[in-house]
């Protein structure tokens, strides 16, 4: 098992790697990262997983693509009003493999969301299947829309 294979592959224009790296940075570090202390940010670059966000009357569903992340290594955290999802990409690569081409170069996903007050972060449900994470964030009972009936007097 070799976790780092995704980071080793040369890319076209390897001679200009330094420039590449500089050009990659703004894309990889999210806005949330900028708020974290320097030490926490520097050692772990991460890709931003693609998400769909849906809202219905009872809550919000977040669907995130995190291929290569296993159930055990996935981390879902809620701190105050920030929900963050993070997980390493692990793929079983043979020991002696030499990476020749790579579109996935950073073996980690990370993304954070700011929750709003009507969401109940204590009852979040998570389900990970085939690399797709499904988070269900219910709304507080009293925050659900109420139909107000108009009486005709």
């Amino acid at each position: 098992m070799k976790d780092s294979f995704v980071a080793e592959a040369p890319r076209p224009g390897a001679a200009r790697q330094e420039v590449n790296r500089a050009a990659d940075k703004p894309q990889e570090s999210s806005r949330q990262d900028a708020m974290r202390p320097d030490s926490a940010r520097r050692d772990t670059q991460a890709m931003t997983p693609r998400v769909d966000v849906l809202e219905d009357a009872t809550g919000i569903t977040v669907v995130a693509d995190m291929p290569g992340v296993s159930k055990d290594s996935l981390e879902i955290k809620v701190e105050n009003d920030a929900l963050s999802i993070e997980g390493p990409v692990s793929a079983s690569a043979p020991q002696a493999m030499e990476a020749t081409y790579a579109e996935v170069r950073i073996p980690r996903y990370r993304r954070s969301f700011t929750l709003s007050r009507e969401l109940d972060s204590s009852r979040i449900e998570a389900q990970l299947k085939d690399g797709v994470l499904r988070l269900r964030i219910p709304k507080h009972e009293q925050a659900r829309p109420q139909r107000i009936s108009v009486k005709v007097g």
């Binding site: 224009g13 769909d52 290569g68 579109e103």
Partner: protein, 149 residues
């Protein structure tokens, strides 16, 4: 009308120019690429590695029924194709959709394999949304040592 659009390309023209300039800066432009390469962000993302005895291909294709993935090797070209269902509800006014970044629809990617592969010895596994294809190389092709005289 079209001439004026060419002269003042507007917002989208600016984005396109910016993208091309970034491409040039990062060294992508001008270098030879694979004839089957696609635009960045294509689904599924692919990583390829070599060992002495095999070619290892990883396709990052989350949320797909493995039975629906169509894998073929034809004259040294491996194709991965299939269709990814949309996770979004159909025309339902009770659901608001905010982010819609995930790929949905039919996909196809092709990879040209080295000459020494044995297309009868292919293994494919799907785990955690990653399709791992291992194609064996023919045994008759170990690296040859050449003596310098």
């Amino acid at each position: 009308m079209f001439a004026s659009m060419m002269t003042y390309p507007g917002l989208f023209g600016d984005f396109d120019r910016l993208r091309r300039e970034l491409d040039e800066l990062s060294g992508w432009a001008g270098l030879p690429t694979s004839i089957r390469s696609t635009a960045p962000g294509a689904f599924p993302a692919i990583n390829i590695g070599n060992t002495a005895t095999s070619v290892e291909i990883y396709a990052f294709a989350p949320g797909i029924d493995p039975k629906q993935i169509d894998l073929t090797i034809d004259r040294g070209v491996l194709s991965i194709s299939g269709e990814r269902p949309s996770g979004l509800p159909l025309e339902d006014d009770k659901v608001n959709v905010y982010g819609n970044e995930r790929f949905a629809g039919p996909f196809r990617r092709a990879i040209s394999l080295p000459d020494d592969i044995d297309s009868t010895k292919v293994e494919a596994n799907y785990r955690d949304g990653v399709l791992h294809i291992s194609v064996s190389r023919r045994e008759s092709a170990p690296p040859k040592r050449i003596t310098v005289q």
